[in-house]
Amino acid sequence: MTQPGHRGPMLDGNSMAGDLREIFAVDVTAARYMCAGCTHTDAVATLMVWHQSPGLVARCPNCDDVVIRVVRAPDRVYLDLRGSVRLEVPLEGS
């Protein structure tokens, strides 16, 4: 699903699962985001994602605003969540 290194076709938030699980202890693709632009809410897995090295850009399918950016540097990851009002994370066993 992922196409790092060049402009690939649009993917979805499912394809961010591995990169996000490097940072978080839970699966964030199953979490619900609320878009800061339009207040649309849905699973992170439904975001429209472009993999353009070195970063991931995830946009709201309702309004196209950027909801999440993940940028990799050699020794760290920058996570930009300003497009998301909140993340609602289901806990295991629920």
Binding site: M1, T2, Q3, P4, G5, G8, P9, M10, L11, D12, G13, N14, S15, A17, G18, R21, E22, A25, V26, D27, T29, A30, A43, V44, A45, T46, E92, G93
Partner: protein, 251 residues
């Protein structure tokens, strides 16, 4: 199982190719030995990383085709070759038993089917989008689940069908499983309709009615996923019960 599939920090592991088999002229299943595999849910995927001698590395995601637990403890990926791809031709044509690849996972906790779910299930697969849906069909059989499954599988030609023999056998042996094929370029001989894309009639006839409140899983190329999901919504299915996974031409 769900717990082991989602907890703990994610690490890259070395997986060894135990066996490889062709599913179609352009798709191959890699059977992997992965030390300390924690188990997975059907629908999850793994990231695969290849690194060249000069340090250049490429990473792709592949859906897991097998269910868990698997008697031999193996994990299977089915890879569709894209001729202009950077990674898939290596995995379909070059890699062989005994070779190692780097892998991390399982990942993805949204596009998954859970055996405790009691709803009937509609699976809509386009091309190699059938792979994670096959994991669900296999998991249903392993769990002995009674939830009725209907798979609508859109594929270019009869030769491109993945898991053809197994699906034929499962339709016969797995009570409550139905499979319908939509051929987009070439049909088998004596097929009742000309080649066509998935449409309202096919989903209406071979899926479950919205009154049954089925869980719907749609996987394939972006255009297929958007068309199929739109059809489900137009037929009255609750969007909250429709889960989608797009792959934009994995290379």
């Amino acid at each position: 199982m769900a717990r082991t599939a989602v907890s703990g920090r994610l690490i890259w592991r070395a997986a060894t190719i135990a066996e490889a088999r062709w599913e179609s002229p352009t798709a191959r299943t890699l059977v992997l030995d992965v030390p300390d595999w924690p188990g997975h849910l059907p629908g999850q995927h793994v990231d695969v990383r290849l690194t060249a001698e000069d340090g250049y590395s490429a990473q792709r995601s592949y859906s897991i085709a097998s269910a868990w637990p698997e008697p031999g403890g193996k994990v299977e990926l089915t890879v569709q070759r894209l001729d202009d791809g950077e990674v898939s031709p290596y995995l379909t044509d070059t890699v062989q038993a005994g070779d190692q690849i780097e892998l991390r996972g399982p990942v993805g906790g949204w596009f998954v089917w859970r055996e405790k779910s009691t709803a009937p299930v509609v699976l809509l697969g386009g091309g190699s989008g059938v792979v994670p849906l096959m994991a669900m069909v296999r998991a249903r059989a392993i769990a002995g689940s009674k939830q009725p499954f209907r798979l609508i599988y859109s594929v270019r030609t009869p030769e491109d069908v993945l898991y053809a023999d197994e699906l034929r056998r499962r339709v016969r042996d797995d009570a409550g499983l139905d499979v319908h094929y939509v051929y987009t370029r070439k049909t088998p001989d004596n097929w009742p309709s000309a080649p066509k894309r998935i449409d309202v009639a096919a989903v209406n006839t071979y899926g479950w009615p919205p009154d049954f409140t089925p869980d719907c899983f749609v996987c394939g190329p972006t255009t297929f996923v958007e068309t199929a999901a739109d059809i489900l919504v137009a037929l009255g299915h609750d969007p909250r019960r429709i889960r989608t996974e797009r792959f934009g031409g994995t290379s």
